[in-house]
Symmetry: C2
DNA sequence: GTCTATATTGCGATAGAC
DNA sequence: GTCTATCGCAATATAGAC
């Protein structure tokens, strides 16, 4: 296998293992077996298990950075919030491992939390706060709302819904077919909750 | 140290380590060093590291089971939702490690997820769904609301707020002094979002 | 009940052959 | 660039002394 393919192949084959068991929960032998490569390839391409994990993390959070496209968009704040919801749901569908790695870094941070994870999430939250402030100064939202709390409420509704999937699997339909209903439902509560 | 004290001491001293680094992220040497006991005490009292972790998990989720008190309470649904919020916030203040272990089990489940974690969370969610249904059949809530989605929105707003603390620490005051404002804010959005 | 000492296994990393 | 073989270390667990 040539270099570029091999590197990418190792990353994609090991992402599910890191997502399900964490950095410390999986060993290099299992990682390389899943990728179908020799054990020494991890050191060769990534300088070690931690280096491979950092590469996995970078790839995952690159997807999150695309939310920044909202900034350049010319739309009113509520439409932007809805686009955020849609982008979030779409991202979790395209990439079923992102949320696990995301939440795993929040609860059991590795050395890469500060450099890769935290800045990426902060950028999204800040973008949403700016969006809220825009609508607030236009007088669209109720008085007395705290921008950060409001934004974190929206972020929490959608993310925790997916995070709880292992627990609520038997209580609610988690297939993509219901995504549209979910988005509408969250937007519904949020809009009624904050609009004048 | 006598038996009962020693057992309890090991559990309380190792809970922070398990919470911050996960079951696989910490070794028995470090665990026993933190508790100030000999390495063999883990096998003696708990039959091994996994047994200790299970004991830690049981203790943590016992706190969660106290939410079931809501069931016997004679109050209207919105008051019950507010009590759920208050109980949740109080629980995370009393026990700063519960949420991390909780979320860690959601993302990187151990063998104890199915037996200890999942049933405890399901009971809380089901209780809130029943509370919602009660208010819905009394005609208090807007038509078109899905009970499960609505309840998960509430659960997500409060839990994800705390989960994001490592990221939002510099953006928002996370001290207990602001808890009352947070609860009021979440209840505000939720009530406006679902009431007729 | 608590200790030391050790058995056993698995880990991550790499030297060196090809 | 990819392999085998192995090094050095840390892991969990426990036997057996006290």
């Amino acid at each position: 296998m040539e270099e570029k393919d091999c590197r990418a192949n190792i990353i994609s084959a090991t992402t599910p293992l890191f997502a399900e068991r964490g950095l410390t929960g999986v060993g290099v032998r299992e990682l390389t077996a899943a990728a179908g490569v020799n054990i020494s390839m991890i050191s060769y391409y990534f300088g070690g298990k931690n280096g491979l994990y950092a590469a996995v993390l970078s790839e995952q959070f690159a997807a999150l950075n695309r939310v920044a496209d909202l900034k350049t968009l010319d739309a009113d704040p509520m439409a932007k919030f809805e686009l955020y919801l849609r982008a979030t749901v779409a991202r979790y569908r395209e990439n079923p491992y992102l949320l696990r790695i995301y939440a795993s870094e929040l609860t059991n941070p590795t050395p890469f939390f500060e450099t890769i994870v935290k800045p990426a999430i902060q950028a999204v939250v800040q973008l949403l706060i700016d969006t809220f402030s825009e609508g607030f100064s236009d007088g669209r939202f109720r008085e007395g709302l705290n921008p950060t709390d409001t934004v974190l409420a929206l972020v929490g509704m959608i993310n925790f819904y997916f995070l709880l999937e292992p627990v609520t699997r038997e209580m609610v339909d988690h297939t993509a077919g219901r995504d549209e209903e979910l988005i509408r439902h969250v937007m519904d509560i949020f809009a009624m909750g904050i609009l004048k």
